[in-house]
Amino acid sequence: MANQNVKIVTLVIDGKDVSAQQGQTIMQVAREAGIYIPYMCHVEGLSNIGACRLCLVEVQGQRRLLPACTTEVAEGMVVTTNNERLRKYRQMIVEMMFAERNHVCAVCVSNGHCELQRVAQKLGVTHVRMPYLHPKLPFDASHERFILDHDRCILCTRCVRVCDEIEGAHTWDVRGRGTESRVIIDLDQPWGTSESCTGCGKCVNVCPTGALAEKGRATAEMTKKRQFLPYLTIMREEDWA
């Protein structure tokens, strides 16, 4: 039953008057208004962390850019989601994601189904201006059904959050700093030796790139299913008593 005490606020996004419920994020309200804001760490159904910075928007009166996924709407807010400055920053962020690891799209299991690849095309990224780091990274194929390819990981931590918030196992975490950061299993051990992993595959399905995939998938064969997430979240929130 709808809460009668929900407060409605009105704001302007890209010159469009919109109304929203207090507590909603700029990202949610923009999406409802049909305005696309690019994102990578955000995924519907999980908590927002504002880590990837792709959804940065301008809010009138604020000197700094604010992430749309973690900023709540407020009465009278004036938001700009797309202009030359934001496009420039977003392109740069996507280029840095490509430069930091070894994303060889042509031979990736997620080629054609990858969110990073899609965002790059949407933002008009035709090349990467910073030198590629080409790091030497390990590959974990010790799990009987899944693989972890650090070459394709952009550290969005969707896997960490889905495992913690939805599955309740918290098998995944992050170790290290900066370019040395890696997603890890349990106490930084091979996936196949994990005792907390339930093998549910939610991490694989929320992963935006080819970093997590099912075994046996060849180039361009890995499609992800994440329609389940919003439903699961709603089920968890519902008061069944």
Partner: protein, 179 residues
């Protein structure tokens, strides 16, 4: 005089040139609009002077590639990175996490069944590998990027016809990394 166009194949698989040929009958139309003055599709040894447009397929992988790309840049008005290897270093860059000598040992000794032995370099041998395979624009200025593995024939046709018409095309809607 028709615009002088060149294509070259450095560290790539020739797939981009195959895609070029996939323009099919449109090649006839293009042949009437431009002079192809240098290409792996024709028999010419020396890269000519005064080229209007050059499409480079492939990453910069050896000392010879580097020498060639510098010469091409100095003789070309408009340089196009043609395909993912030129744009991102793509598959050739997968050797970058290993030292060149280990790469050669793997290819020519460990995996060789006949006459195992790493090649010799320099005057009497093959061009020396650079430490890493890198995209073209990390060495010379590139005017236009045409990503894709390979870029589809439609994207190549669009880019060439626009360039011949004196426009700077944006092939973003027709191709992407890994296409």
């Amino acid at each position: 005089m028709k615009p002088r166009v060149a294509t070259i194949w450095l560290e790539g698989c020739s797939g981009c040139h195959m895609s070029f040929l996939d323009m099919d009958e449109r090649l006839v139309e293009l042949a009437n609009k431009m002079d192809v003055v240098y290409s792996p599709l024709m028999d010419i040894k020396e890269f000519p002077e005064d080229v209007d447009v050059t499409l480079i397929e492939g990453a910069i992988n050896t000392e010879e590639d580097l020498h060639k790309v510098r010469k091409i840049r100095s003789r070309t008005k408009l340089l196009v990175s043609f395909g993912d290897c030129a744009v991102t270093a793509n598959v050739p860059s997968m050797r970058n996490e290993f030292a060149p000598k280990d790469v050669l040992h793997r290819a020519y000794v460990e995996n060789a069944t006949l006459n195992p032995g790493a090649p010799t370099f320099g005057e009497d041998g093959v061009p020396r590998l650079l430490n890493r395979a890198r995209p073209v624009h990390e060495f010379v200025h590139v005017d236009l990027f045409l990503p894709g593995c390979p870029p589809p024939a439609d994207a190549i046709y669009y880019v060439i016809t626009e360039l011949l018409a004196g426009n700077m095309p944006d092939p973003g809607a027709l191709t992407r990394f890994g296409r």
